[in-house]
Amino acid sequence: MPKRILIVDDEQELLDVIQLILNGNGYETLTAYGGAECLNVLAQQTVDLVILDIMMPEVDGWEVLRQLKSQGKADAIPVMLLTAKAQPIDRMLGLKVFGVREYVTKPFNVNDLVEKVAQILG
């Protein structure tokens, strides 16, 4: 049974690219265009990993993480942040405060991303 990954971003092009890469590596993928859609998907389906952008209009990545935490789902769903925000304070927020599994900054290296996904999903 292939592992299922939810990709969340407000850039359709990027969603397509990541989907292509992950499918090529044998993963099943879902996409959500923005934070609100992400929370909708997660309310209905189970996934093995969420690849989450931070800077999105309306519901941003932090809000998604807060919601997951308050719904008690944070521990059950591994998250990888994929973001243009490269500052130490944001890395700290993601990794220490919200306990995400990986913090990857854009622009990213494809091999790197695949490797990190593989590590998380075992």
Binding site: D60, W62, R66, K69, Q87, I89, D90, L93, V97, F98
Partner: protein, 417 residues
């Protein structure tokens, strides 16, 4: 070195845990990334309610959405323009001072904002109480009828009350701040106001109840009773002086009036001119009714000016007192003895067999000689005297009698030369 890093981290952590100021670190979206226990206490939120949440959402119920939005806008400006911001917030009836400054990374790029929160309620209350007290004192000082001021050691006004402002100039008391007397008044007036200031500041001794006559801005003359006292700081160092001037012009006028009403002469205790004229007039009316004659002796003391100039006024005063004594010794209880002014004296006596003009003058001169014979003075007292006789059949006024006696004395003086 890992050891060193771990030491630094432990050090920062324990500082954060123990300081009384609240601190928070926000990222560029103003999401709270870190805070210390004091911030928890000041904001009234548990740490888990804050970390990971946007500051604006947290403070929304506390500051109102307008207040929270305004603060967020200010912090965004700190991020954008890299400046430090200071802001006062009211949280649960406490006044909180918030200072925000940009948080930069190792490349000097702004990655967030550091907030430092301080509960300044007590300080604000103390400031308000102090302001209230100052206001109370200021109101009291301004409404005093006395003129009150304070100067620093350089003679610059620090404070002046309204009464003082009204007295000397149209300028409001606020305008004299930092100015000296010489900046405010003509040199001679300033010199008089500043007189004694250096002595008070140097010695630390107050100058109490000095009477001074001043000319006000409107040109009128006022008598002031001035007290100047050193003004000390909390360590007892003299930092200036305070002055209080009480306007005693009315009192002086009343004293003057009383003196004018008085019938006696302060120095000698004899009747003064006013007393003499009133009483002598009565005596002459009596003499006329009783068909009795009367004698008026009029004289002046010689060389009073010389005594004053040579030995000083106190000595001149003593000489005048002594002449008065001689005149009293020479006269009867019922005679009216007076100092008409300066060195002029007069005696009015009802005529009796033993008191003809000649015998009275002779007795006077003998008594004077006896005083001079004591030799306890550097000079001799001499007295020129003239007399006039009052005839009840041809009555005249006291003033006329004085004139007659005066011209008789003049003739006697001419005779002396």
């Amino acid at each position: 070195m890992p050891g060193e890093n771990s030491f630094q981290l432990r050090y920062y952590e324990s500082v954060m845990d123990s300081i009384l100021s609240g601190t928070l670190a926000l990222n560029s979206e103003l999401v709270i990334a870190s805070m210390n226990p004091a911030a928890e206490h000041i904001l009234g939120f548990k740490m888990q309610e804050c970390i990971g949440f946007p500051l604006q959402r947290l403070l929304d119920p506390v500051l109102g959405s307008d207040g929270a939005q305004r603060l967020a806008a200010g912090l965004k400006a700190v991020l954008r323009d890299r400046f430090a911001l200071s802001h006062e917030l009211v949280i649960a009836n406490r006044i909180i001072e918030l200072k925000a400054s940009p948080l930069v990374d190792s490349q000097e790029a702004v990655m967030g904002v550091v907030l430092v929160l301080e509960d300044i309620t007590e300080r604000k209350q103390a400031e308000a109480a102090l302001a209230e007290e100052r206001n109370l004192l200021r109101t009291l000082i301004d409404n005093l009828p006395d003129f009150v001021y304070a100067k620093d050691t350089q003679g610059r006004y620090v404070l002046k009350n309204l009464a003082d402002g009204r007295l000397m100039d149209a300028a409001s008391p606020a305008e004299v701040g930092g100015k000296t007397d010489y900046d405010c008044y003509p040199p001679e007036v300033a010199a008089r106001f500043a007189a004694g200031d250096p002595a008070v500041i140097r010695s630390g001794q107050p100058l109490i109840d000095q009477e001074e006559l001043i000319t006000t801005a409107t040109g009128s003359q006022r008598w002031l009773l001035t007290t100047k006292a050193p003004w000390r700081d909390h360590q007892g160092q003299i930092v200036g002086l305070v002055g209080i001037c009480h306007d005693i012009t009315e009192r002086k006028a009343a004293e003057e009036m009383l003196r004018n009403l008085s019938l006696t002469d302060d120095l000698t205790g004899l009747y003064n001119r006013r007393g003499f004229l009133a009483l002598a007039e009565q005596q002459l009316k009596l003499a006329r009714r009783m068909k009795q004659s009367a004698l008026l002796l009029f004289g002046d003391m010689d060389k009073v000016k010389t005594i004053n100039d040579t030995w000083g006024h106190p000595q001149g005063d003593l000489a005048i007192i002594e002449i008065a004594t001689v005149l009293k010794e020479t006269s009867r209880e019922s005679d009216i003895v007076a100092r008409l002014g300066g060195d002029e004296f007069a005696v009015l006596a009802l005529e009796a067999p033993e008191s003809s003009a000649q015998t009275m003058v002779t007795r006077l001169m003998e008594n004077l000689e006896a005083h001079n014979a004591r030799g306890d003075r550097y000079y001799k007292l001499t007295f020129s005297v003239g007399s006039a006789r009052y005839d009840p059949e041809a009555p005249c006024s006291v003033t006329d009698l004085i004139k007659q006696a005066d011209s008789s004395m003049y003739q006697q003086k001419q005779g002396k030369i």
